[in-house]
Subunit: 427 residues, 2 copies
Amino acid sequence: MNKSKAWTAETIAIGSELLLGGRMDTNSLFVADRLATCGVELRYKTIVGDELSDMVAVLKTAARRVRVVIITGGLGPTIDDLTREAVAQATGQRLSRRKTALDGMIARLAEWGRTPTKAQFRQAMIPTGADIVSNPVGTAPGFVLIWKETFIAALPGVPREMEPMLHDGVLPHLQAWMGRHKQIQAIPVIRRVLHTSGVPESIVDQRLEGLLPAGTMVQLGIYASPMEVMVSLTGPDKESGPVTIDRLFDEARTRLGEIVYGEADDTMESVVGRLLTEQHMTLALAESCTGGLIGHRLTQVPGSSSYIDRGVVSYSNRAKVELLGVSPDLLDRHGAVSAEVAAAMARGIRERSGVSVGLSVTGIAGPGGGTKTKPVGLVYVGLDGGPNEALTKEFRFHGGDRSVIKQRSSQAALDLLRRWLIKKGGG
Amino acid sequence: MNKSKAWTAETIAIGSELLLGGRMDTNSLFVADRLATCGVELRYKTIVGDELSDMVAVLKTAARRVRVVIITGGLGPTIDDLTREAVAQATGQRLSRRKTALDGMIARLAEWGRTPTKAQFRQAMIPTGADIVSNPVGTAPGFVLIWKETFIAALPGVPREMEPMLHDGVLPHLQAWMGRHKQIQAIPVIRRVLHTSGVPESIVDQRLEGLLPAGTMVQLGIYASPMEVMVSLTGPDKESGPVTIDRLFDEARTRLGEIVYGEADDTMESVVGRLLTEQHMTLALAESCTGGLIGHRLTQVPGSSSYIDRGVVSYSNRAKVELLGVSPDLLDRHGAVSAEVAAAMARGIRERSGVSVGLSVTGIAGPGGGTKTKPVGLVYVGLDGGPNEALTKEFRFHGGDRSVIKQRSSQAALDLLRRWLIKKGGG
């Protein structure tokens, strides 16, 4: 356990629910990423319950083996929120009520027309010598403490509180402290990500074979999830080596071609939204088996109201007839799950709403409702952009439950729209 | 770090991709659950990269603080698969090629018409004194080793290999070993969960104050997320103590009252679905700011097609007029985000679709679109179950982004429906 050679870090996630509560610690992914860009390498992640003595022991172990310790969770107002006590005990500091911490909390609560409860006052108890990290979103303040040449930060477990606090409150402190230890080298590592849709992991793997030259420090990761295959390149920033990570990234993008829908924080819905905005187009949806998921995803993007006019979730056949003008005869002849009905749904929603393009999905999400000829996982997507601009596509999704089939269906529909918009825009 | 009092465990997940690859260790959830039912309490989870010295250090720390160590990952054929070496180094054992391990691997590969590569022979190198755990799915064998009164198991990281190996290969070993240490009490632990909606964590905390009698081994957890506050009671099965976990659970349920919407794996959407089914009611949705999320959530439940007729996502005012019959005059007078429009939307969707009950949401999800009198987070929910059965409710959600406001709005709408259905059903 040699602390002196490099900038190393450990995350400690606190909470018994992370041990036996079926909850995952997702914060450490964000922390790892941000630390890497500062040249600090995450070496360990530890997860521990709400037991004070366990927390103290874990903190002491971390302080022995790394230089930077980021704790998340356990800063709430309840009696099992013991991070403050654990840090105080491990570092031999006292807890005292701090005015900055209290004032921030009172101000935040006042915005919501509330005053602190007795329990909430506990949140202002901070170890002596620590600097307060204010919370721009919730009530619990965080803090930063340097102890025996170890940088310790404690932040709330709620991601939308933790993330801005790490970024605005902790990292500037950390960088200033690192600046005072110039004898320890910091190698900023960056991570570049591509998102692909529509092909399995094995195809992505094949296309990227031999991408990395021998001896490079850049690492390639290929990760499959129900909605996409993600590709990541992780390594030193371009200034540090002869084979730049940017060049490898461009090469990967070229090799993967049209299956790449975005990079970094892009989502399929944000990419589609950008294309619709650029082409001044409006969209209406006719969803069946996805049940509103496509609408939900598209409206996650701020400003989406400027291109989404409406959506219809036509779960029943009657709704398909009444809201979309699908003919009962067509439903009888082909069944609700068919290319014909998908086409009629897309045309129906476009014509009735007067938008540029209509997008539809009909399928069997399961677990019931499948037959031999129309099994669970059979899905049709329809797109209608006006006369001579209609298409449908059949998908057969295997080996997923209802939720996975809904996710993959929504992704397939949005990807069809994406590719159509790109062709339409001449891109 | 007292090892002698109870059966305690730590999981160690091995792999650099779990540190900076954007990948999560999900195996530990499964392991925690299985160990709890054997009376072994998971106290720590550690995640470490492919660095041999880090792995050895982590193993030694674990062996000092717990009785059972379950390692996942690092058993593959490549040179960064170092779990075998790490266990050998930490325990001072030699690695040797073991016939049982090799034979199992050769047999598995033969099924696939292959023979071991040179690299794969490394997978049969097992620490002296360890028992082989055969792999029914892949090639890498696992092993179990007892060292200094610590039970150490090493298993592959792939869940569908790890899970049967833990269950069939490791747990019988563990239980036999526990049987030889009867002086250490094994207390099988269960976990009971309640889900509440509509009040903040601090209120739940207040209502449960003093629930746990002094000296009980049952632990209370209160966990807030954007959509709910979850309450868990974790402790010995009812046979083990005078205050049973079941009695505490019933007491908690009574104290919390109508804010409890479900228990265990219940979700708000499954509970609402059950109530609709019991009362033979059908539902139609008119969503504005939630963009389809309510429809998406309800249709996550298998069989939901029997009570959900349709949904309309009326994002634009024109859609509200055309699809729901909201009068343009009403929109002019009160604005789209108003109790009046929420009521008209719910009535409109119910009347037009002929269902038992219509549910509507209109609000400002942000980040844009807010004003002084109608700020981001202002949301109206409407419910219409026919003449004299209409209600609306105003919500003001603070401190969340667009996604959180959508989530909380969908939860508030479903909770209003839930409470109405319960009253209606005389429950």
